[in-house]
Every structure is written in structure tokens, then in C-alpha cells.
Amino acid sequence: MVDSDVFVQALESLGVNFFTGVPDSLLGGIIEELLTRKLYTSAVREDEAVAMAAGAFMAGKIPAVLMQNSGLGTSLNTLLSLNMIYRLPCLLLVSWRGFEGKDAPEHLVMGETMPQLLDTMKIPHRTLSEQTMADDLRWVGQTFMKQRIPVALLIKKGIIKGLHP
């Protein structure tokens, strides 16, 4: 497992300097680390977080939005009718709840359909792993700058140390 501070440091090294989002238990460790570093702005809905990140980008920041995959549903219209058409990039750090059907019932449908949903939305995505983290983040940086659209990094349970190890 990757330590939260190592992951946050890697994101900062990549240039990410505006973090917002809505929490998920799988992202708890990352958010705690961001709060310690005073880098996190709490949002009340995922579409709001995505729109705030878009504003921050236009004002010179490199933004990331943390969310549970249910938040992709909530922010779908903002991602499509703001980020995609205005070319406003953003790093989406999305926890993959419902992966392989092992989760509470409310997560199962989104857990199964999320990769196809992202493909349909034409949002490039990768699944983070400890072994490939450096390469995953390099890919994020390149895709972000080249395509200028949201890029999703999917985070499964057990990849990054959380509040409840």
C-alpha cells in the first residue's frame, strides 16, 4: 500500500495545487493529509467541486477533485457541458466503490458500469496501482496538458492507506 503523504507529495510534485471534492472512506487518508497541508477546500456536491476546480484552473491553478464514483453521476453534466466543451482540464481522483461486486448494494451498479461510463463520456482513465504509480502520474500529467480535458485516476480499496487500514 502507498502512504497517503507519499501520494499527496507525488501529486504536488506533478504541479497539482488546488484540491477540492467530497469525501469517500477510501480517500480518507488522502484528504486527511491534504487537510494537514492546508491544501483542501471542502465542497458540498461533486458538480460544485468540478466547477470550482474549473474556476481555479482558469485562475492559474492545477486542480484535482476527489470523489466517490457515485459523484461521477452527480457531476456528469458539469464535466460534459463545462469541462469538455470549454477545454478545462482537471484531475479526477475517483474511488472505485463496488469493484468486482464486493460492496454495499448502492455501489454495485456504478461499480460495474463506471469504466464504460467514462469511455462514453470520453474521459481518459487509468486504475492506480502501487507498482505503476510513477507511470500512472506521468500519464496523468501528459494527458491533462495535451488534451485539456478531465482525466480520471481510479483508486481501488487497499491501494492507498486510509483512515481505517
Binding site: 488546488f18 477546500t41 471542502s42 465542497a43 458540498v44 456536491r45 458538480d47 460544485e48 467541486a49 468540478v50 466547477a51 470550482m52 476546480a53 474549473a54 474556476g55 481555479a56 484552473f57 482558469m58 485562475a59 492559474g60 491553478k61 486542480p63 453534466n77 458539469t78 460534459l80 457541458s81 463545462l82 466543451i85 470549454y86 477545454r87 478545462l88
Partner: protein, 192 residues
Amino acid sequence: MRPEQGTMQSRAQAMAALLEVLTDQPVIICNGFPSREAQKLADRPTHFYMIGSMGNAAAIGLGVALSKPSKKVIVFDGDGNVLMGMGTLATVGALRPKNFVHVVFDNEVYGSTGNQPTISNVVQLEKVAKAAGYVAVERVLDREDLVYEFKDMLKNDGPSMLLVKVNEFVEDAGRIALEPPAITARFMKSIE
């Protein structure tokens, strides 16, 4: 027709009065006719015209305001938009960005889709903003009060909300001329 409507300005008249006061401040303008009217009245590089993502105007403005604390950031919003993204009033109220001025043109209808009623005739949005933690809120009807309060909000620390009651008149204003990526590029350059 509402009883006080005869005395009210149109949104375009109110917007024109505010645009006369503004110079190089970033302005985020919500989707629908407000953006089209702003473009017609005064097309400036500092204008970010939304054409989609209804409900997100204040959140976009908040992102700009937090990242550019030296600039007063203005949001031109509508009652339908504020109601859709009402949670953002809470986020603004909690974060209290001093440089955030939220103007709401309240015509009590979804004007871009055929004047279906909103619920802002019952829910007073500036009171919601005040309860959420906005430092200053005002509700105005006529042009004189509008300009006076707006100048005050530009001068003082916010976040503040200026709610202006307007009638349902919609200006004959064409679609946004620039392609969205060009709006982004122009806006970013103008607020560097």
C-alpha cells in the same frame, strides 16, 4: 403580472447599470439569456459566458476568487441557477472569500425555457445567503439602489449578495458568438 412589476427594471437594464461600474474585474455569467444579454451590452475579455452547466456559476466564480484573492470576482446569476446550486451558497458562506460579489437577477421564472415559474417568489434567496454566512446581502428594486449597493460591495469585504428583482423582459440577444475554448482562452489571458 406581479403587483410591483410595473416599477421594475428589466434584467438587461439592471445589467447595463452594473457593467457601467465594472472595468477589468472577472465576471462569471450564468447560462441562458443572462450571458447573451451581457455579450450584447458589453463584450469584454473578462467575461466568462456559460452556455451549459446550469447551477454552477457561483462555484466557478468561487474557484476563481479563491485562486485570485487580489481581484474582486463578480458572478451574474439567476434565481433558477441559484436554486439549482443552492449548496454553493453554503460553501461560499463557510469559506468567506472577501473578494466574492454575487449578483442575482431574480425574475421568478426560467426565462430561457419559456417563463415557467421558479420558487423564488416564496424563497428569498438573499436571506438564504445571509443565513449561510454571506457578510452582506441586499435586495433592491430600482436602479439607484442597485448601483449604490453594488459600488458598496465592490469597495467592502464580502462575500456579498446583491439580489435585484427584475421583470420578465428578455432582450433580443443572439447566441454567444465565441466558441467555448476561445471564451476560456480569452478569459484566462485577461485575468492573468
